[in-house]
């Protein structure tokens, strides 16, 4: 073990400024959230003064804790419901779209690709307002509330799996599929038995990413929620953060954070198992962060 003086004099150490900026950034980005989590365990009503540790705001308080206040746990339930439903529809739709427009050559698929990319980058508020107008001024079978929220989330997220899967398709190329077809497989069989298994890591990673993104979503779900019973956690935080809330709000946010972190950790461990010994799949957590 070298001492700090030796480290300081080491000509091969990384530039000090970069180390300082990185460490400073990490503290700045994570410490406020950790403090917010800490205060969800506060025994008192304050969100700025520590008054002892308790689970009061999770279930201890008879009226205002997450467990007892219906508006709070309804919000959490709504968030998780939207996350599951939207992810289950978005991922198959996006994967099929990606394979389709990747293999299908011509004007129409490249136009569709452009449309998909535009839907990927436009500010969410534009899509939210457009869908709100469409739903309120047309007689659609979709009403504001959970169904409208699901539709909006799918539209906004569909490009995510599609982009990841297309990147992975570009990495594996089509030689495996051609080999399968040379050996007598029909295109459908080649797709089902060769391409899709090879795409599986990308599909799985995008599932976790879409889920985490959906439960974070705020703009779309707020515009498309019909009334307060379909407001998820993010909207709840937005509505009450400036109106003298109790640490129960921190507790709610912490529970959502825990859900997201569990989903991601479990997903990452599965992903590592799945790609073990696969030289073409991205290694480590970087591949999992959406850069296939």
């Amino acid at each position: 073990m070298r001492g700090p003086v030796a480290w300081w004099n080491d000509p091969w150490r990384p530039p000090r400024v970069l180390v300082a900026v990185t460490i400073g950034y990490l503290i700045w980005s994570l410490l406020p959230v950790l403090i917010a989590v800490l205060f969800s365990f506060n025994d008192g009503k304050s969100r700025t003064t520590w008054q002892g540790f308790s689970f009061r705001w999770y279930w201890g308080d008879e009226t205002r804790s997450v467990w007892h206040d219906a508006t709070l746990h309804q919000a959490l339930w709504q968030t998780l419901k939207l996350g599951v439903i939207a992810t289950l529809i978005t991922v198959p739709l996006g994967v099929m779209l990606a394979i389709g427009i990747d293999r299908w050559r011509g004007r129409l698929p490249s136009g569709a690709n452009m449309l998909m990319l535009v839907s990927f980058v436009i500010p969410e508020v534009l899509l939210a307002v457009a869908l709100l107008f469409a739903i309120t001024s047309l007689a659609l079978p979709i009403g504001l509330g959970t169904s409208a929220q699901v539709v909006g989330l799918i539209t906004f997220q569909i490009a995510y799996p599609a982009v990841l899967v297309r990147a992975r398709l570009a990495t594996i190329g089509n030689q495996y599929e051609e080999a399968a077809m040379d050996l007598g497989a029909s295109p459908m069989q080649a797709l089902r038995r060769v391409t899709v298994p090879m795409l599986f890591p990308a599909i799985f990673a995008s599932t976790v990413l879409v889920f985490a993104d959906v439960i974070d979503n705020f703009v779309l779900v707020r515009y498309l929620s019909g009334n307060s019973s379909t407001e998820p956690v993010s909207v709840k935080i937005y509505n009450t953060a400036r109106a003298a809330p109790t640490p129960a709000l921190n507790a709610l946010a912490t529970l959502l954070l825990a859900a997201a972190l569990i989903a991601v950790t479990v997903g990452y461990l599965f992903y590592r198992r799945m790609t073990r010994g696969d030289a073409t799949a991205g290694k480590g957590i970087a591949a999992f962060a959406g850069e296939a």
Binding site: L26, R47, T48, L97, I101, V125, F133, A134
Partner: protein, 310 residues
Amino acid sequence: MTVAEAPSQPAKPGRTRTNPLWPTLAMPGIIWLLVFFLAPMYVVLAIVFGQVDPIFRTPVPVWNPLQWDATQFTYVLSRIGPGGAYGPALIRTGVYVLIASVLCLAIAFPVAYYVARLSGRWAGILLAALIAPFWISYMMRMLAWVNLLQDDGWVNRIASLGGLFDVRVHWLTGQPVVVVLGLVYGYVPYMILPLYAGLDRLPQSTLEAARDLGANRVASFWRVTLPMCRPTIVAAVLLTCLPMLGDYFTSDMLSASPKTAMVGNLINDSVQSPGQTGQAGAFVMLVLLATVLPMFYYVRVTARADEVST
């Protein structure tokens, strides 16, 4: 499977006919995007160029483009122009987004550079910490700052050094600095990751060649690294800038004052007020234009970069 055969162009020699499987796979997604993405945009157009019910002040969409009436659109445009009521918010949005993007880049580039190229065995842990904000709800991260920036919050307490000075700054009542820093705090992670990906892929051999040929650290960074990752920087800046243009909740959470209202706030405020729906739609169209044009530029830049790299 008539879908694939419908285009009647003669099959070129040496090119295989499109397998009907691919259109079949792509169709559900394409139809979804047409119905729930493109069609709602047309509804917005029909409302922007439509009429307003004179009694109930509700928008009356006009579907036929030949009967479109540009009154609401020109009304918004006239208020955007110099001296108009919306002008300050537009200028403010531009200034905020510009400052926030520059600050984001100033933070994100060193961090991404260090983690991608110099961190060695710490890379995995550092990367996990950099990705963590992605899994933390944006609203929760803003809530964390709302707590810290209260009048009796930790920021004021730390600034007063334990009662040494009397610092009573009302951070949460329309401070532009707080809003800009909030934007930076919110969007920096979205810039770090693309930069990391780009810097991670830089060929080490090229940089070593630059050093071998006599460039020092600064010169090799300035003349090799930076030009090589210019497309990445453009992409990363666009990926953070464009969402910021539509942002209204950061300003709402951290200031809640019209003094820091951005374009997003104008849209958000006018969507629900009766009679102003068309104006909200006009804003949506303008922001869409401001978004899609850089997007086409980005696609062209990346397409060219692909050509160069292959």
